[in-house]
Amino acid sequence: MKFLQRLLHKSRRKSPWIFHLNTGSCNGCDIELVTCLSPRFDVEQIGIHLEGSPRHADILCVTGPVTRNTLEAIKTVYAQVCEPKAVVACGSCPASCNVFAGSPVIEGPLSKHIPVDVYVPGCPPHPDAIIAGIAQAAQILADRGIPKTAKGEEQS
């Protein structure tokens, strides 16, 4: 059983599939995110795969300050990502709404609505920083899937 747990842990770390969610971003961070898939950076080496459906993904990469129109979408998409999951907030917009703070159509930082695991600072962040953020989120979700050793019976 220990061997299977270790195998599952290693597989979760080595195969982080991402879903890209844009909550009203200026597209700067989105461009840097898809640059990670380009031949220059090539995240497929470490198993990252951009998925078309949130049900297929493990890690949700969110860009943009949370606008009022995207609030429903964020909650729906977050509920559709299967456990164990992690959230990466790319750029400074999901962290603090950047220049848009105080606007009546901005619903505040992302952590008000869904739990965020890794923040990648930058405006926009460098693709290397985004890759490092996704790798750290993969490690976090692999650790999250380990069942509690004490008396909890949570299965991974």
Binding site: S11, K14, S15, P39, E44, Q45, G47, G52, H56, E83
Partner: protein
């Protein structure tokens, strides 16, 4: 007889061989496409890690969808593909099942039918669109597939796989094999015939609502389809004589060569629209129909 049948079903070219071979072919395709785009590509064990990770995911309960039925479709696909693998005449000198090509065609068709049904059962608009596209594409390419099988059977005079696996220099045999090879990109949903599972266009099509272990089964079915279809073409091409271990090795090698060729075509082309895909297959179907009928007439009056 039963023992060799069980060996074919579970050992080689059945379960124990087919699943790692499927992962190896999937890795080969991703790596080849990556190298052609000047990228590095995934490591060798990547499909295995993906499979284990997907098995370990907890899918949320959804009401309004028949979850058990949704989980049934990929299981049926995997089981029928394993059966198809067992039928392949890898060593046709009397070992294993002696099935016929019509049964093989039926087993190879099950994943496509399950894909269409899964799209309609999933209750999402993208699933419906993908299922409709897959159904129409299936009609187009199955016509070519069936006519290729008919050509093979008529020119060789038999439907039995073991007899078809003995090669011949009959041009009808090679036309049939070519027809089967041309259907492979549509069955595997590769470029240029990837319109039914178009990522980012219809959010993965019928597989949109799948997650976790069921999705792992779909990926496994995809890998097994690679092995079964390329193995079929290889077994129909290669000679049957030789050492008992040489032919399976050559079949595997030739299948891998086909994987490379199909990956090159997939990397080089864009996605055809549905109209264009149908036009491609029905033009070839016309050619094959003429050849099949003419060869049948030739055999009849020879």
């Amino acid at each position: 007889m039963i023992l060799s049948g069980l060996i074919h079903l579970f050992l080689f070219p059945g379960l124990i061989f087919a699943i790692p071979a499927g992962w190896f072919f999937m890795w080969g395709e991703h790596k080849a496409v990556a190298r052609m785009q000047r990228r590095i590509g995934p490591p060798l064990l990547q499909p295995f890690y993906d499979f284990v990770k997907l098995i370990g995911k907890r899918t949320p309960h959804r009401h309004g969808i028949e979850a058990d039925l949704l989980r049934l479709y990929p299981t049926v696909s995997v089981v029928s593909l394993l059966g198809a693998m067992a039928l392949l005449p890898v060593s046709p000198l009397g070992y294993g099942f002696s099935g016929d090509v019509v049964l093989l065609f039926a087993l190879l068709e099950m994943p496509s039918i399950c894909f269409i049904l899964a799209g309609f059962t999933s209750g999402s608009l993208y699933g419906e669109i993908g299922a409709i596209r897959e159904a129409v594409l299936g009609v187009a390419n199955n016509l070519v597939f069936l006519l290729a099988i008919v050509t093979l059977a008529v020119t060789r005079g038999t439907f039995r796989l073991n007899d078809l696996a003995q090669p011949s220099w009959n041009p009808g045999h090679w036309i049939g094999v070519l027809g089967i090879f041309l259907c492979i990109p549509a069955k595997l949903r590769l470029n240029p015939f990837s319109t039914s599972s178009a990522e980012q266009e219809i959010y993965s099509g019928p597989l949109t609502e799948y997650g976790g272990a069921a999705l792992a089964m779909w990926k496994l079915a995809h890998g097994l389809e690679w092995v079964a279809l390329t193995g079929l073409v290889s077994t129909l091409i290669l000679p049957a004589q030789g050492l008992w271990w040489l032919r399976p090795l050559l079949v595997f090698a030739l299948s891998f060569v086909q994987v490379m060729v199909l990956s090159t075509v997939a990397a080089a082309t864009a996605r055809f629209t549905l109209q264009r895909s149908i036009r491609f297959y029905w033009q070839w179907a016309a050619v094959l129909a003429v050849l099949a009928v003419s060869s049948a007439l030739y055999m009849r009056f020879h």
